[in-house]
């Protein structure tokens, strides 16, 4: 029942919003619906936390043996929690942004939430593919309609890129379907992989590459990232928040659910290649981030570096590393959401995102500065913040992993990016928030109350998870162990 509610609430709200003309009514309804989703999710994790409430399994297309099969295991719960937690913050945190045709904007926003939640809960490959695309289409319209100057070309590039990846994924899913004896069920995929030791077969390699391409584009993994900085830059801020906080996790989730346990032999065989790409991408993105003048592009590149570490920890696996990936998916989501909220607040007030044009904001807006600094420190994974837990566990996992003979080299190279991350993040704070006031920032006002509220919630979450991460770690411990058991290790 919980999965059905989680999809229907945003879906129905999204469709209904197209009929509501008043901007504030639409915004309020969207906000209330997102709160309702969060409430349902929390109920699913507490009072309804049993199989009867958390799974839904009905016939969909009999001829294809495909089912409406949703299941909320630990990993799904974590990501659905991230999604339902982020949406109210996104809507409330950008409350002051004005949009033409606001009702459609929020309608598309809610539709993309329905798609995202569907992705995280589907246990049927065809259903998964369905929601994977359903999450993309509303965002395509959102970005192309309300984005920046170059929005049409940029979002089209983004769409074509991800559509290409999706189609390859579809082919892979069809191949797996025939391999698993005409079944789309995730459980059957995994069972087939465990029973047929088909390591090194060219078909498994093909499936691995096709799935990998789809997920690599979505996350994004170097060198498939070229759509990402442009898209993040041109998308309206609320859209960027969804793209980076939640949608990037679709790729990581896809790896953990649909790639690693489904083609374990190929994962083992080619894991080093992907891990190398991840490390190269981390270093590359960190260096590029240091050169950026646009706040959004800076955060975009830093996001590539952070996601790269998760990919590394998946392909150089260990229990600690996988647990780190799990918790870091959540952490990265809320941290980057905090960064975008600050960027949005700055853009709303000054009309620019150029680091070189800003300066000295701290003198006039101390509250914003304090909140930002906490978020930024979490972004460079300082102890006491949530990201420290995740990144520490991942580094620990990579170093301790027996899956790759290069694990030490990977860990050292990836460790460099933490230093580089500190360089670009702290330099950004220094140049935007400290230093001399200039003509533009002379009349800086403190950010509005609602931004403070939302940022405070995020800061509290950062600190709480940073000090007491156990609830989240317990949530995913079973799933991490299961995934690890299905992998082939030396």
């Amino acid at each position: 029942m919980v999965p059905v509610l989680l999809i229907l609430i945003p879906l129905i709200t999204g469709l209904a919003l197209f009929a509501i003309r008043q901007e504030n009514t639409a915004k309020t309804i969207a906000f209330l619906a997102s709160i309702l989703s969060l409430a349902v999710m929390l109920a699913g994790m507490s009072i309804w936390n049993d199989a009867a409430h958390l799974t839904y399994n009905e016939q969909w297309i009999g001829a294809l043996n495909s089912r409406f099969h949703f299941d909320l295991d630990g990993m799904s719960q974590l990501l659905c929690l991230l999604t339902t937690f982020s949406f109210p913050l996104i809507i409330y945190g950008t409350w002051g942004n004005r949009y033409v045709d606001a009702n459609r904007f929020f309608g598309l926003l809610m539709l993309s939430q329905a798609g995202l939640l569907g992705v995280f809960m589907s246990m049927d490959a065809l259903l998964f593919y369905f929601f994977w695309e359903l999450a993309l289409i509303p965002l395509y319209f959102l970005c192309s309609r309300w984005g920046g100057e170059r929005r049409i070309a940029v979002t089209f590039k983004f769409f074509v890129y991800t559509f290409l990846g999706s189609l390859f994924m579809l082919i892979a899913m069809i191949m797996l379907y025939f391999k698993a004896g005409n079944s789309f069920a995730w459980a059957d995929f995994v069972k087939t992989a465990q029973t047929h030791a088909s390591s090194g077969s060219s078909q498994e390699l093909a499936i691995f590459l096709m799935l990998m391409l789809a997920f690599a584009i979505k996350m994004p993994l170097f060198p498939f990232h070229t759509w990402q900085p442009d898209t993040y830059e041109q998308t309206p801020n609320a859209g960027t928040m969804i793209l980076s906080a939640i949608m990037a996790k679709m790729g990581v989730y896809g790896l953990l659910r649909w790639l690693v346990p489904v083609v374990p032999a190929a994962t083992f065989q080619y894991g080093d290649n992907i891990a190398t790409l991840a490390v190269v991408g981390m270093l590359y993105a960190s260096f590029i981030a240091m050169q950026q003048d646009d706040l959004k592009r800076l955060v975009a590149y830093s996001s590539i570096a952070h996601i790269g570490l998760m990919i590394l920890a998946i392909f150089v696996p260990s229990y600690s590393g996988l647990q780190g990936v799990m918790i870091q998916m959540f952490n990265h989501g809320i941290n980057i959401l905090g960064m975008w909220l600050v960027v949005n607040a700055i853009e709303q007030q000054f009309g620019t995102r150029k680091i070189s044009e800003l300066g000295g904001i701290a003198q006039k807006a101390p509250v914003l500065t304090i909140l930002l600094v906490v978020v930024a420190l979490a972004n460079v994974s300082l102890p006491l913040t949530n990201a420290f837990i995740g990144e520490f566990m991942m580094f620990n996992g990579v170093l301790g992993s027996t899956a790759s003979q290069y694990s030490v080299i990977y860990a050292v190279a990836a460790g460099l990016t933490i230093i580089l991350g500190a360089v670009y993040t702290l330099r950004m704070i220094q140049r935007v928030f400290y230093g001399e006031l200039n003509t533009l920032t002379m009349n800086t006002r403190e950010v509005s109350g609602y931004v403070q509220v939302v940022l405070s919630i995020i800061v509290v979450a950062i600190l709480v998870i940073g000090i007491y991460p156990k609830p989240l770690l317990t949530l995913t411990s079973d799933v991490s162990q299961q995934i690890l058991n299905k992998m082939i290790l030396k």
Partner: protein, 458 residues
Amino acid sequence: MNAIILSAILGVVLMFSGIMFKNGNTVRNIAIAGMLILLFANLAEMKGYHFFDINTKNLLSFTRFGLLFNSIAIGATLMYMLVSSRDIVNVGINVAEYFALIFFVLCGIAVITAFQSLLMLFLGIEIVSIPLYILTGADKRNLKSNEAALKYFLMGSFSTGIMLMGIVLVYGAKATFNIELMGADVNPGRNAWYLSGLLLLLISMAFKVSAAPFHFWTPDVYDGAPTVFTSFMATIVKAGVFIGFVRLFEGTFANSGYQWQLILAIITAATLFIGNVTAVFQQSVKRMLAYSSIAQAGFMLFALFSFNSLSREGIILYSLGYCLATVGIFAVLIRMKDYTFEGFNGLARSQPVLAATTTIFLLSLAGIPLTIGFFAKYFMLASAIKNGAHLWLVFFAILCAVVSVYYYFRVIQAMYFRDGHAAIEPTTPGFRWILVFMAALVILLGIFPNLVLQYLYF
């Protein structure tokens, strides 16, 4: 049988209705009512009610597959008439003839979907083609329309000639016209007559469905014909010929598949490539749709390439999805003053309903999930993967599908994201409601394709 006889009778009725009623709208209403009768008659036959008891001497056989397609073709024509019949009335003076010809085309399609003897296939193709030559030239005072009609006629008769030669050669080798008897031969061997006849049949059918490299007539004819008839030709007629193509090769020549499968794979790849790549460079939406119809034919050819149960389901879904979407887009296009992409700029502002439904149709053509177009493509790709031979074709097809996104989304971008004042003729609420109904059908079948497919089996 119901559909063949009734459509012929209704065609004659409409021809004479032109003498009795001078008002085009009356004729139009009669045609729509006739189409409804035809649809019910065909649905009744699917349920097992045969209105006419005629011994066809094994010349025709009425299978579920053929009857289901007939229902789709008639249903799609009904939709087409509901959204476009006013435009048919506006084409010229002899309104009743156009409607009568459309009924004759449907009669031909009903023959093609039921043929059991190669003679009947030939007859069906001719019954379809001749009315189309006339419809192409319906706009008598327009030079382009005349040119298109002549071109279509010459090319069409040429390909019919090739088909006849093919039939003769195959007959010479097998001494029968009956496709079932031919298909029963499990080891057809390397008989030169048989194989060259088969090749000629393949070429002539490829010609009729505008597969590359036999597609050259398509853009000119589609562009020159009155837009409202282009819509009919590019959708229902094309799908009908495809069903004949599938029936012919699946039943008759399946056993010699290894001899023609590679040829067909190359034809498919060429069709996908030429259709998609050329569509990218078009400036007129009408010409873009002409090339897109070639590209879509490339995907439909998968059904021939991989003859299995998935491909039969696939071609049914594909025909339906493609007909619905293309008829819908053409219905909007006819109303546009400017056929270029720029002509669509800002349509969403002035005509939100038209823009939204057109977007759904375009998404369906591009094969985005939640639309019937996705399942159509899904079944085609899955059938080819299940077949297992020539897997490169599958990858080639998805690359082409990505290219197709470019030109379909250009229209969406123009309607939604670019500023402009798209000039459009006024539309009635009824017109908009039918478009909404069609769009809803596209989405409904995109979630539950079983609603149609179950009729293949039960």
